[in-house]
Each structure stands twice: as C-alpha cells, then as structure tokens.
Amino acid sequence: MLPSELLAVWKRKGNIWPRYARATEDNLEVANRLIKAYKDHVGQKKGVLKAFAAEIEDEGYEYRFVRGLSFLLDRKSTFRCNDRIHPVELRRRIFHTTKELGFATSPERRRTIVETVASELKVTSESVDEFLYADLDSELVLEEFEPPAPQELLKEYNLSLTQTLLFDSTELNFTASGNWQRIFYAVKRLGLIYEVYKDGRFWVKVDGPASLFKLTRRYGTATAKLLPTIIANPEWTLEAKILWRYTNEICSFKLESWKHRTMLNSPQQPTVSYDSTVEQDFAEQFQGLKTGWQLKREPEPVPAGKQVIIPDFSLEKEGVKVYMEIVGFWTLEYLLRKMEKLKKVEANMLIAVNEKLACEKLANLEKNTQLDIIYYHDKIPLAQVLRYLEKAFRNLQTTQTGLLKSLPVVFTEPIVNYEEFAARIGVSMEAVREALAEKPPEGYTVMPNGLVRKDKLEQMRNTIEEQLSVTGRLPLLNAIRIIESEGVADVTKSLETLGYKIVWRGINAEKAEVVKP
C-alpha cells in the first residue's frame, strides 16, 4: 500500500481506475534502473540514494510511478544507523559544551566546541560533524537490499496501487471461485460486515458497522487488506464504490480476473489444508468407500438469510446435497447460535460433535436442538454418516415424489428418459420414477428407464411385424436395433409390452429370437 499522495488514477464519467503499470519496455526500464540504483547504493546513505532516484523522476516519467516503485523498494531494504559514535550521546555533549562556551555564532567558536568534544571522545573533528545527526532518516545507511525481478516489482506496484485506491472505498462487492473459508475468516478478523446475495453468481457485499448510518471511508483500509485473499483465487470480479477524496464524488471501480489478473501480484493459492486430523481421516476414509456420494472439501458457502454458513464438507448424489460440519471444541451457546442460523438454511446439515470436548452436558444439548447431530470420540463414525445420508436421500426423494405427483406434467416428446428429466428439473431419478410409475401420463407406457408414447410403440410393432412376416422369426439382435434406433433403452420390457416372446437358445444373445406367442 502506498502513501495516498502517490495514488495515480484515471477518472471518467463516474468510473475510476488506477493507472496500472503494464510490462512495457519503458516501465520495465524504470523498474530496472531503480533496482540497479538500490543495488549500487548498498553501503551509502539513504539521502544520496533518494536524490539519485529523484533524478530518474526528473527525466520525464510520471513522478508518482517512480516514487511508488521506490517506496516498495525501501521495504525490501534494510537501512541502519551508523552508530560508531552514538549520535544522541554526541549531541548531548555538544549542546552542553555550547552552553559553556556560547552559541557557535562564529566559525572559530564552532571549531572550538567541536574540538573540545572530539578530544573528550578521542575522535576527529570531522567525525563529530559526520555523526552528529547520523540517526536522521536521510543519514541512515543502506545495509542490505533484496532485489525483485522488474516484472514482479511492477505487479507489486499495481497491487499496492489498487489497495491504495480501496482506502477510499465505501463498499466492496465481489464474487470469487473459491477460498471462501479464508475470505470470510478475513472479513471477520478485519472487523467488516458482509451480506450475500445471488445475482447469477454468489456475490458478497462488504462494508462496516457504521456504514449503516452514512457513507464512510472508515473501512477502506480493512477492505484493502481483504483484497489479496480474494484475488488469490483463479477467478474473481470486484466492484467497489470509491468516495474520491478530492472531489467527494462517488466513483465505480471494477476489477476482473480475466482482464487484470496477470497485472497484479497475487499470493500463491494455498492448498486445501485440514483444520484437524479428524477431518482429514474422515475425508480419506469416506472417499475410500465408493458410496456414490461425491465428497467436496470447502464447498461454496450456504446462504442463511443474508449471512452464510461455510460447512467443512458437502456430499452430493444425484442432485441430493448434504452438508457436514465437524465441531471439535464447543459450548451449548455456540451450537444454539449455529442452530439459529441453520433455521434459515434450506439444506441438510449434519453436525459431528466431539463428545470428549463437550463443555456442557449433552443432555442439555439434545433438549434444546432439533439439529442432526452425531457424536464422535477420535473418529467420525462412518456408518452413522452413511445412515444419515441414505435417510436424507430417501426423505428428499419422498418429498420430491409428492411434489411431482401434485404437478400437472404434460409431455409432448415421444420418449421420456427418467434420468434426463430428473436432471432437467433438479430432483432425483428415483423420485421421478416413482411419481410417474404410479400415475403415468395419458397416452404413455411406463418402462423401467422412461416413458414411451403409445404411438411410438405401435410404430415399433409395425416394423417388427414387417420383418416377422418375411421369415416368421426375428433375431433378437435385429429387434434390439429396431427398438434402440427409436431411442428407447428398455428393449426386453418393450418387447414384452408389445406381446412378443424371446426364445433363448443357450445364453448367447446372437442365437436368441423374437417370436409371436
């Protein structure tokens, strides 16, 4: 982050952008020269270095850009006070001697004072002058410097510039492809308040407690600190409102990963790490089971009113989603608060609670909650989790079946595949099968994998009859071809429905034939 006077922006029609330094030849040259200047000045005074840097600035480059880079390079430098003669002690002696001998209003008297102190300290008069203010900022000596690559310096500059602009922000809206746990943790740690909403994607709006009363830049600094965590993701979009300090107008600032990511230095996306071995063991064992449930670590946050819950895992099967949270150390109050929040969630949430770390009597908890809780000691009991999952699956199916039955569904297509239909309307296939089998729509025949319109069946019958009329029998493989070419998966069931019989000769399907009974 840069001092605000070094913030360079473009501003047009209510929009504002930082003046990013792209990796052009010119910009890379400035970066290179400054880096070299710092390297060359190791062992010299900061004042000398800064004067040298100011010369580059006077060659016609944007001075805020040059100073911004120099500011960032200062942070990669170690400046130290050369205190071979300690300046504070030296000054004390000088000023006391001045008291004795009078102000140094003539060169002679000045020399006398300096020499007196020099001989007291057994040093030369020159070094007295040299060390008198060796502790001033400009007199500090550049001791070490870690040179960055010029491209990296430009990216770091662009990130700092963005953060400096966000100092003046009154609110930030963003969406990101992941890393949610860290993002919300940072929001909380920085004292910000968020709201979530869906606008095609999952969006988060961030500002602070007092933003309720008026537009304020108060939370700009915290918002700027949040930026690196958001852009550590591969994809993100940010929209901020900037209260521009010089004119007091509100400007919009938009940042998008596809456009800006390569210009900004962003910390490496940390790999998913587990809070505890309990979580890790559970994930590994569960995945080893091949249950048909997809386990996902750090899923997208679950909206609960305007707040969110970020569960540890999501488990998904055929459109049924169950969230799971593992609670190590807990109090009754904590769980009650969680329950309060969960009431607003239209999702299945399983909570695994550590029995050993319970701070309250478990009886209290059970009395107070209607949460789905399982207890564990050292390991999450997989059987219980699976039982819960199957129950959730069945429950959801029953609900969906009921819903489907009550819906007046009108089909027009000749063939309805349950799996496709279930995916299309977002329910489980079993629910579809059950609902449609019980009350098939007018004009359709129920098959194991779908519905077939009656005229379609008749069409198949005609084709089969045509072939049968020639030889009196039809190889099963031909019949399969006929039926499948109509897009129907249920061959045996179709033949049965049409009143044919399959005559098997051994187990070889090639020798089987379809005949009229």
Partner: protein
C-alpha cells in the same frame, strides 16, 4: 427483554421495541445505534418503562484519585458552566490560561473512567505528567507505540479514531483537547463511535476557516464558556512585543530566486492561471499530477521559496541576534525540518522535530526548562498546547502561512524576565513572496485540520 451491547463502535439492540435513535440493520437483524446516542437510548428506555439488559460499557477498573487541583476564579466559572450543562460542552480559553486544570478538576469530581484525546504525542506526555501530579494516579496511553488502557487514558486523535471499535465503550467522560481538530470528517467519527455520556471540549481557537466548527455542538455540546486574551492579559498571561526584521538576499541568492520564480510566473502567465485563493492553489497542485510542465513550474517555485526561507542572510542575522541576547532563553521556529537541522548544525543548539527520539526530546525540554540549554530550534511540534515555560525570546524563520493566532500562540509561550517584556521576532526576506506569506499569516483565519 431488550438487550443492548457494543459492536465495533456502535450499539446493537435486540428486542421487541425499537428506539428513535436506532436504525434497523438487515445485515445482522438488530437495531444499530450510533455509540454517541448511548445516553439518549438509556434515557428513552427508562422513560418508556421498558425492561432492558445493558451490556454496552466495558469500563476499566476504578483507581483511587487524590485530586489536588486549585482553580483560578475564571477556571472555576468555566467548570461550573460545564457542570450545569449536563456535563457536556466546549470551553474556549486562550493558550496558557490553564485549560488542562479545568479538565483535571472535572475528572477529580466525577471520578469516572476518562479518555483524553490530544493532537500530539508531546501532549500525551504532558497530560500524563499532570495527572500524576494533580490526581495522584498513573494514566494509560494509546498512541506513539504505547497501548495501555487505564481508568484515565490519554490518546492522540489518530489512535482514538483508529481504535474506536475497541475503545469506544471503555469511558464515561471524554475530553477533547484542542477540540477544533475534532470537526474534520474522519476525527468527528471519534465523537460518534464512543459512548461517553459526559463530554468536554477545550480550545483557544474554536473557529475553523472551513466553518466545520458548526458540527461541534452536536458532537460535544454547545460552547458553554468563553474568555478572551484581552480579559486575561496582564493578570494571568504575560504580554510580549512583536517585531519584524527584514533581510536582503545575497546577490547570488537573489539571482537564483528571480530565476526560479520567473519560470513559475512564466508558466502561470502562458496558461492564464491566476492564483488568488488557497482553493486556486489546491487546483493547481492537483494539475501537476497530470501536467509535466505544471509540475516543473511548481518545483521551480518551491526551490525559490527554499532559497528565501533558508537565506544565508537570515541565518547571519539570527546569529547576531543570538549573540546579542545570549542570556535570553530562546526558541527558534521554522517550517521546514531541513532548516531546523541547518540551524542546529551551524550554531550547535539542540533541535526538536518529529524525527527526534522521544527520550531525547524529553531531555532537551527538561534541560531547556532548567536553563541548561539556552536555545532550542524546532519545526512545528511545539506550537500547540505544549508547555515550554520561561522562554523570553522567540524567532520565527519561516511559517505556515497561517495566522495572527499562530503568532499569538507562539507569543504566549514567552514569559517576561526581570520585569523585561518578552519579545517575538519574525525574520523575513525582503523582495520575495515571503513578505506575502508573512502578511497573510498575520491576517487570515487558521486553516487547520
């Protein structure tokens, strides 16, 4: 039952009833109230006979106070006025009239957790010293690397602003020293985000050139007492003489000055820019970010001013003055730190700037007080509120281009010695724009934060 608690500089209320001071916050599904309305909300709930649980304050433990403050009659009157105004309001007293003592007396009477907000780190030290001396207790400090909260805590405006989220519910009385600072857009949030029902503002210069002081009554209370310099002069404040000395630039300096200033003026003329007011100048400064030639013109002007301000002729005159008045306790003021160190190196006298280590600054001031050091050269750090007693001569080598009040403020840190009036001398280069700045300094209102 209604439940109230503190949340990061605001108050949250949950319960069946709202309040006229709150606003529904859909983000957290509670009423949110500005911390400054704490007293009003409590009064409202009590009046309405509503049961409530108040978890808002989180006060540090009370310490034993042993107040020994004696007030002068006008200080006593000021305190009485404040107490009659429900312990809220602003007292306007000239520098050196002992504003601090009025506040110390109030703390001694209230014996409540108190937060004192001051503009500079020096003032933190000064207040803490006084608290030990007159209340016989140790005060905490927030700012300048320290962060200790005690029953009485002194903070800078900056730290009070930055830490409002955590400190806002820890004090019942808040004292704003140099309260005119509070009216700036960010600092006014201090008043809004602290719950303290009792509030006192102290200043010598209530009015601000940007008129924002009109916001202060809402934040702290009305002005309940005013006394001017004229009413106190002679009896309680020492009078001083003011003199202006002109020096001519050396021929070399004059030539360089004219050259640089010519570049600046030429640019203005070419572009048809007229600089009449501070706003005009601000606009011009902003244009230098975009326009390279504008920036060159600005740099030329700055170099010219530097020549005039740092003129060798001025330093020679200062040297002659120091020599001629070697027994006076002398303070030298300049605007630029560079010049402070030039003077310190040349005459070998102690310097105080923002870069001076805290310990050394304390030691220098102490030695100056005792007469161990006869002169101190400083930039602006001493010009507000900090006591530097017993100086009998002051020199201004360059100024902020501010006001008559500025001169008065410096003048008032001077004391007469052996019946002789203290003197304040402003040294100005002739034939330069510095004459303009000096004139402006004496006639315009302050442009302070």
């Amino acid at each position: 039952m209604i439940h109230l608690w503190f949340d990061k500089g605001t108050i949250l209320l949950r319960g069946e009833a709202g309040t006229p001071y709150g606003k529904w916050d859909p983000r957290v599904e509670c009423y949110r109230i500005k911390a400054m309305h704490y007293r009003d909300v409590l009064a409202y709930l009590k009046e309405s006979n509503l049961a409530f649980q108040d978890d808002v304050p989180n006060l540090p433990p009370v310490q034993q106070l042993n107040p020994t403050v004696e007030l002068r009659p006008y200080q006593k009157e000021a305190l009485d006025k404040w107490r009659h105004a429900n312990m809220r309001g602003i007292l306007v007293l000239p520098t050196a009239a002992g504003k601090t003592y009025v506040a110390l007396k109030a703390i001694g009477l209230l014996k409540a957790q108190t937060f004192i907000v001051v503009p500079t780190l020096d003032l933190i030290d000064q207040w803490r010293k006084r608290i030990v001396e007159y209340l016989n207790t140790e005060a905490g400090a927030v700012g300048g690397g320290e962060n200790t909260v005690r029953m009485i805590t002194v903070s800078t405006y900056d730290s009070a602003y930055l830490q409002a989220e955590t400190l806002g519910n820890k004090f019942m009385l808040i004292v704003f020293d140099e309260v005119h600072h509070l009216a700036s857009p960010s600092y006014m949030q201090i008043a809004e985000m602290y719950i303290a029902p009792y509030r006192m503002g102290l200043t010598a210069t209530y009015e601000r050139s940007d008129e924002r002081h009109s916001l202060l009554p809402r934040l702290v209370g009305d002005t309940v007492y005013t006394v001017g310099v004229e009413e106190l002069a002679g009896e309680h404040l020492s009078p001083y003489t003011y003199e202006k000395m002109f020096v001519e630039l050396t021929p070399d300096e004059q030539e360089a000055y004219d050259d640089e200033m010519g570049t600046f003026r030429l640019y203005l003329r070419e572009k048809g820019i007229v600089l009449r007011s501070a706003e005009d100048f601000q606009k011009f400064i902003m244009s230098t970010g975009r326009d390279r030639r504008a920036r060159e013109a600005l740099l030329a002007r700055n170099r010219a001013l530097k020549i005039a301000l740092n003129s060798d002729a001025k330093l020679s005159l200062l040297g002659r003055q120091l020599e001629a008045n070697r027994n006076e306790k002398t303070l030298i003021f300049t605007l630029h730190n560079d010049l402070v160190y030039t003077i310190s190196r040349r005459f070998l006298i102690p310097a105080i700037t923002y870069q001076t280590p805290k310990e050394e600054r304390r030691e220098i001031l102490e030695n100056f007080r005792k007469g161990e050091y006869k002169a101190v050269v400083t930039s602006q750090v001493l010009d507000e509120g900090v006591d530097v007693p017993d100086a009998s001569a002051g020199y201004i080598l360059s100024g902020t281009g501010s006001t008559r009040e500025y001169i008065q403020r410096l003048g008032r840190i001077l004391r007469k010695v052996e019946g002789k009036r203290a003197k304040l001398v402003e040294i100005v280069s002739k034939e330069t724009v510095e004459v303009e700045i000096s004139r402006r300094r004496r006639h315009k209102k302050p442009t302070e934060d």
